[in-house]
Amino acid sequence: MTYLDHAATTPMLPGAAEAMAQQLGAVGNASSLHASGRAARRVVEESREAIAAALGARPSELIFTSGGTESDNLAVKGIFWSRRESDSRRRLIISPTEHHAVLDAVEWLHKHEGAQVCWLPTDSHGRVSVDALLACIEEDPDDVALVSIMWANNEVGTVNDITALAQVCTPFGIPLHTDAVQAVGILPLDVTASGVDALTMTGHKLGGPYGAGVLMLSTDVSATPLSHGGGQERDVRSGTLDTPAVRGLSVGVQEAVVGRTERAARLAALRDRLVDGIQAEIPDAVLNGSPVDSVVAGGPGRLPGNAHLSFPGCEGDALLMLLDARGIECSTGSACSAGVSQPSHVLLAMGAEVERARGSLRFSLGHTSTEADVDHLLEVIPAVVERARRAGLSGARR
């Protein structure tokens, strides 16, 4: 099996799986007052401190959640509700390339809660500029509830200069939330230095467990809870903590961050070979997103493990199926619940045509990727593309 879909989820690191399995055998509700409870609580707090250290945040800023989707919803809805209540602010400033966990939360607030949305323009790589953000804020700074811009895009891998964008928000006292699901453990990232007020991360994209994540929420920013109950996690996220998942997450984050520089360099080299190899075999294949050697804020301008390409005349669905049949796993971008692929909203926001969006594939490398994976892909891709081209876009159009 050649697994080239690490941006969807990456295998758990053995250390994280082991720590989690060990904790599964221990009893204890982290809110209980007796010894078992205290033991569980200790695991949670040690994990919180370790994750905070790895992210450059303070432990008191971290809220454990069920993953990226919940963290994004909590940040977007929670901060919007809170700021609307305190200051009657209604505007959300959002990048159109966000993950659906942000996009759909924003659309929902617009439809049901009277939120007004300012969609930021992006360049053809999907990057948001400081000037665009400033212009959008200045339209009516006192009405802005929240800005949400992702650190790195999950489809095309484009990295935003979050530190510079946060500096735009700070003088206006406007909180900036960033979805850093794809960035943690891959890009240089220091929460405090970046100046963000809220940051989403999730375990299963970096070698930690599924269904476990964090919302870093500055203690200066309040968020209205999505669910009410026992008042755990600063009263923002009620519910008995999943101690084994929290422990697994902590080990995953630490290992990912510790090995980051080395892994990023290795993945970038593999990815470059993959992209060069594909373009040598299929000269009209187009790399979408930021160039592989682009630089943002002194770091990579594109996620090192990301290769997102359009194959003119092919349909992404057909390519995916043909590759799957040959043991190569990748992705076409966003899939809705029925598995019907829609042309990627990210590519469309970048100004790509529908055909180009439909004819694209994302290959994403991660900690278990090898040269052999790239070899395998390069070996089969010419024939697969040729076949898909023959099938053409016939299914999609007349």
Binding site: A338, S341, R387, S394
Partner: protein, 366 residues
């Protein structure tokens, strides 16, 4: 063989796929997403392409341990089936969207794509037999679907596999249950899949607009009522006429003809629906015929309609059908399917009805 199985999420395609897997073929399950708007595929409608149906199909594929994908053919389906359906009604004809879907989607768009991608054939759960290229009715005559497959060309049929033809529907359900497939007792879908609430007239009204017109008594020429658009009526229809003036003889009245051009519906007694002579458009033949040589056969004129002995005369791009027994409620746009063979279950050919006439020509069997 390396085949695509079209998996709707229903019991028939589930068992058809299972039989192919068990026969040793390499099967890839495909669910066709045909609803145009994402919302339409989200509502828990009775249609054939809801998210729940896609999930049912996916679960069957899991159990069979075969790859499974969703193919989005919504654009083609809308253009080739839904828009055609509306246009046909607008032109005063009564289309059969399942025939059209088989001709244009399942055994055209899907088949072409499957072949281009390296597959050998398309498998469906239709109830029909296909032996050595010969299309026959299912052994379960009540569930037989050869009618909606009859206009496929020999090339299309040569690339199709219908594994269920020798089974009754009950047997199909038993086979599903025996394999632990949860769709075993899923109800059959009956309605037009893209009209989720079953309200065809409401659907047409929305697409074609309501326009008040007259209902005319065919015998007296008098206006006996009003309607909201002639396109909402089908020849042979009796219900929903809401006529102000009762018939002189007190007998029920039926729609005899529909003219969308002048937005009128003509009604009359049941006897007046009796049709004896039909002209069709270009036929598809699965047997050797000679132009101008009459052929005795059994003809079926509606998906669930009665059959009648008939004499068909093939011409270059049309046929003429003389029915030996009058038939009621024959509408232009429906398909005439010709059956022959010892058991009158072999599909000889098919063509679309263009005009239907009351004259019973030569009723003597030849």
């Amino acid at each position: 063989m390396n085949v695509i199985a079209a998996m709707s999420g229903g019991v028939d395609s589930a068992v058809a796929s299972a039989l192919m897997v068990e026969a040793g073929h390499a099967v890839t399950g495909i669910h066709l997403a045909l609803a145009s708007t994402p919302d339409a595929s989200r509502i828990g409608s009775r249609g054939c392409c809801t998210v729940a149906d896609a999930n049912d199909a996916r679960r069957v594929a899991d159990v069979l341990d075969i790859p499974f994908y969703v193919w989005n053919l919504a654009d083609r389906f809308r253009a080739d089936v839904v828009d055609d359906f509306v246009a046909e009604y607008a032109a005063g004809r009564t289309p059969n969207p399942c025939v059209r879907c088989n001709e244009r989607i399942k055994f055209a768009a899907v088949l072409d794509r499957a072949l281009a991608l390296g597959f050998d054939a398309v498998v469906t759960g239709h109830h029909a037999r296909l032996d050595a290229g010969v299309l026959r009715r299912s052994v379960d005559v009540g569930k037989d679907q050869s009618y909606v497959l009859a206009t496929l060309t020999d090339r299309q049929l040569g690339l199709a596999v219908f594994p269920l033809g020798e089974m009754t529907k009950d047997q199909v359900r038993q086979e599903a249950a025996r394999r632990g497939l949860l769709v075993a007792d899923k109800p059959d879908s009956h309605d037009i899949c893209f009209i989720a609430d079953g309200d065809t007239r409401g659907f047409l009204g929305k697409h074609l607009g309501a326009r008040i017109g007259d209902v005319i008594d065919d015998q007296t020429g008098h206006v006996v009522g009003q309607h909201h658009g002639a396109h909402g009526f089908t020849v042979g229809q009796r219900r929903g006429l809401s006529l102000g003036v009762p018939a002189a003889d007190g007998k029920p009245r039926y729609v005899l003809s529909v003219s969308v051009a002048d937005n009128t519906v003509r009604v009359g007694p049941g006897e007046a629906l009796e049709i004896g002579f039909i002209r069709t458009g270009a036929p598809v033949w699965h047997t050797d015929v000679a132009v101008g040589e009459p052929l005795d056969c059994i003809v079926q004129l509606r998906a669930h309609g009665m059959t009648s002995p008939a004499t068909v005369t093939p011409y270059e791009h049309r046929t003429e059908i003389a029915l030996h027994r009058g038939q009621r409620g024959i509408a232009a746009g429906q398909t005439a399917v010709f059956y022959g063979g010892a058991d009158a279950d072999v599909v000889l050919g098919a063509a679309r009805i263009e005009t239907a006439d009351r004259v019973l020509t030569d009723t003597s069997p030849r």
